[in-house]
């Protein structure tokens, strides 16, 4: 969880270089001026490469804050683990 959180902070720092480290945790589309539709695609691409996941264009409009993205990645992670266990 902590590792995932740390890696997500790195992704935010790349997509929003002007954001200071403590601000990342509370970052959202409404609080970060640079977070427009293009920035969210860049953020999605960076997260995709970092976590080897596919963030579909369908879910992007819902992922509008650091916490929401973290929850999404956690859920994805758990689903993947369950799937792997059931396959065994």
């Amino acid at each position: 969880m902590n590792d995932l959180r740390f890696r997500l902070v790195q992704c935010f720092s790349l997509a929003f270089p002007e954001l200071k480290a403590p601000e990342v945790y509370s970052a959202s589309a409404s609080s970060v001026a640079a977070w427009d539709s293009m920035a969210s695609i860049i953020l999605a691409n960076v997260i995709e490469e970092e976590f080897k996941v596919k963030l579909d264009y369908d879910v992007l409009p819902e992922l509008v804050s650091f916490d929401l993205i973290l929850n999404y990645l956690n859920e994805n992670n758990q689903n993947d683990n369950q799937l792997r266990r059931s396959e065994k």
Binding site: C11, L14, A15, P17, S37, M38, I41, I42, N45, V46, E49, E50, D56, Y57
Partner: protein, 569 residues
């Protein structure tokens, strides 16, 4: 390159006070990823400048071209797609895909290409532009099945081909060639965000643009091994007649390698041999008429039993070029490692005769390493001029160097229209040893220097009884009444030892009335030869720009034997 890596390259680049390089990217779609990748690839290739990639309004290529201000952007890149020629050829418009629309689409494509041509013609002829032709497949607009090529599609592709043919004949435009291995199109990205390219495709296209706008310097020489490389088999063991390079003995790939070396030799690449071998046996193989590269294309040929790195050292000395301009090909990994340990700059590549795919890749890799935009007269003269340079370095026994120079029947032609000759910039960009300050120029920067008030550009061509060397020196500067400031001065290493550099100075002093020369000198790790020349005039090696008076130069200039001719603009 990963997208994250591209962002990091851009973010981590220390912009500080480096000069900016502005590149204009023109697309009909949202250029988001392409822009990021292009900036990153260019930044990697041009570390001495801070690259800025700017975009224009999407979907208006001809308009974007007319809005280019060469004062604001020095390079351009256009990613042309079918939708730029008619929106119905894509997926974001619903204008119709029926047979009725096809004729209209064809006319539209022709009209759009004509308009594009006109806009491109209006660009300054020194504005470098990289252009990619449609990379995304056509939408399913034809009534024939996808495995059948129909007339309507041929007509569309023909229009593009005609446009491409015209573009390649335009000196400032270079066309992208991509190897189609990855699917370039992302329908969901196109419909949801106007991003038609997959990330991998955007990266590949951006890299191709960057290579066209900031091309790598071509390598100059190739040193090859012989046994199991230039031919199959060990000549010393099976005999000169039994080594092979043909289909019958399943060794054709060695013949293809010979054929490529000959082609490279034709374009001016120096080909040498470093082989642990018996020289007589080697010469016997080279007497065979079926060899695809004749013996006279190889100079020098080093066939001895000593370390390969020693042979490479001698070849580099004969060629008088730096190790990082050279490629060494051998079938033995240990020989490659031995050469690499002594000459780390040499690019060492293995010829693996057991792996046909590896040989195929090697042939393509060699083409890329030695690729040139154009083949000049000087390229065809290079090999012979090196032979004569070797003669110059080793004057015949019983002859003093002075007598040798006197008997060489040397002629130098100075051309004051050097600015018009593309060879001038090429020479400036690839010459290191006799180079006033090591400054390399982009085409626009070169034009700006030549267009400055009171600017002059002069080139020197040389020939003697051993043969012509072609254009071997270029000098640019600013000529004021009393002071002649030299900004650029390079001379090919093939021309060393002939006092051509002295004749260059004598020539400009004869042409201009200035009483003093100011050299905008800067030491570089490679311009030792120029430093030694300066030392011969100044009495010490310079460390910064320096001046020499007319009187001092004439006093210290050795006797010159050249016959001199001037061509004025």
């Amino acid at each position: 390159m990963q997208f994250t890596e591209a962002i990091k390259i851009i973010r981590d680049f220390p912009a500080s006070d480096l000069p900016r390089l502005h590149v204009r990217l023109m697309t009909g779609f949202t250029p988001l990823h392409l822009q990021t990748f292009l900036q990153a690839h260019l930044q990697q290739r041009i570390p001495g400048k801070c690259v800025m990639v700017q975009t224009d309004v999407y979907g208006d290529l001809t308009g974007a071209l007319t809005r280019i201000d060469p004062a604001q952007a020095s390079h351009g890149a256009i990613a042309l797609e079918w939708t730029d020629l008619d929106p119905r050829l894509g997926f974001r418009q619903l204008g119709g895909w029926g047979p009725k629309e096809l004729a209209d689409i064809g006319e539209n494509v022709h009209a759009k290409l004509s308009a594009l041509k006109e806009s491109l013609l209006n660009l300054p002829d020194h504005f470098p532009l990289a252009l990619s032709l449609p990379t995304v497949d056509l939408a399913p607009i034809f009534h024939t099945p996808s495995w059948q090529l129909c007339e309507a599609e041929i007509r569309l592709r023909h229009a593009i081909d005609e446009f491409a043919l015209w573009a390649t004949s335009t000196p400032n435009i270079k066309l992208v060639r991509l190897n189609a291995t990855l699917p370039p199109f992302d329908l969901k990205g196109e419909l949801m965000a106007g991003l038609p390219y997959t990330l991998a495709h955007a990266d590949r296209l951006a890299e191709a643009f960057a290579k066209l706008l900031a091309p790598p310097l071509p390598k100059k020489g190739l040193i090859t091994d012989l046994d199991d490389t230039l031919w199959a088999g060990i000549a010393g063991e099976i005999g000169p007649d039994a080594v092979s390079w043909d289909l019958d003995r399943k060794t054709q790939h060695h013949g293809l390698y010979q054929q490529l070396l000959r082609a490279l030799s034709d374009q001016g690449v120096l080909i040498g041999v470093a082989s642990k071998n018996d020289p007589e046996i080697v010469e016997a193989v080279f007497r065979r008429r079926d060899l695809a590269i004749p013996r006279d294309r190889i100079f020098p040929l080093e066939a001895y039993w000593n370390e390969k790195s020693e042979s490479v050292t001698r070849i580099l000395k004969t060629w008088n070029i730096h190790a990082d301009s050279v490629v060494f090909v051998d079938d033995s990994s240990s020989e490659l490692a031995e050469v690499k340990s002594v000459h780390p700059g040499v690019e060492c590549i293995r010829f693996d005769g057991q792996d046909y795919n590896a040989v195929h890749n090697l042939l393509r890799q060699l083409r890329d390493l030695f690729a040139k935009q154009a083949i000049t007269t000087e390229d065809s003269l290079r090999r012979e001029s090196l032979r004569s340079a070797a003669v110059f370095r080793q004057a015949p026994p019983g002859t003093s160097h002075e007598n040798f120079l006197q008997a060489a029947e040397a002629q130098i032609t100075f051309d004051f229209a050097a600015a018009k000759n593309p060879r001038s910039l090429e020479l400036v960009d690839k010459t290191n040893q006799f180079n006033l300050n090591g400054t390399h120029y982009s085409e626009p920067e070169w034009r700006a220097i030549l267009n400055a008030p009171n600017a002059f550009a002069i080139s020197a061509s040389y020939r003697d009884k051993y043969g012509p060397l072609g254009v071997i020196a270029v000098m640019t500067g600013i000529a004021n009444d009393e002071l002649l400031s030299v900004n650029t001065w390079v001379m090919s290493c093939r021309a060393f030892g002939r006092r051509i550099e002295h004749q260059c100075l004598k020539a400009i002093l004869a042409h201009f009335s200035a009483s003093e020369l100011l050299f905008q000198f800067s030491p570089t790790p490679r311009n030792e030869y120029f430093q030694r020349f300066s030392e011969s005039l100044l009495g010490e090696k310079p460390s910064a720009p320096f001046k020499i008076s007319r009187a001092l130069f004439l006093d210290r200039c050795p006797k010159l034997y050249h016959e001199v001719e001037f061509h004025h603009e």
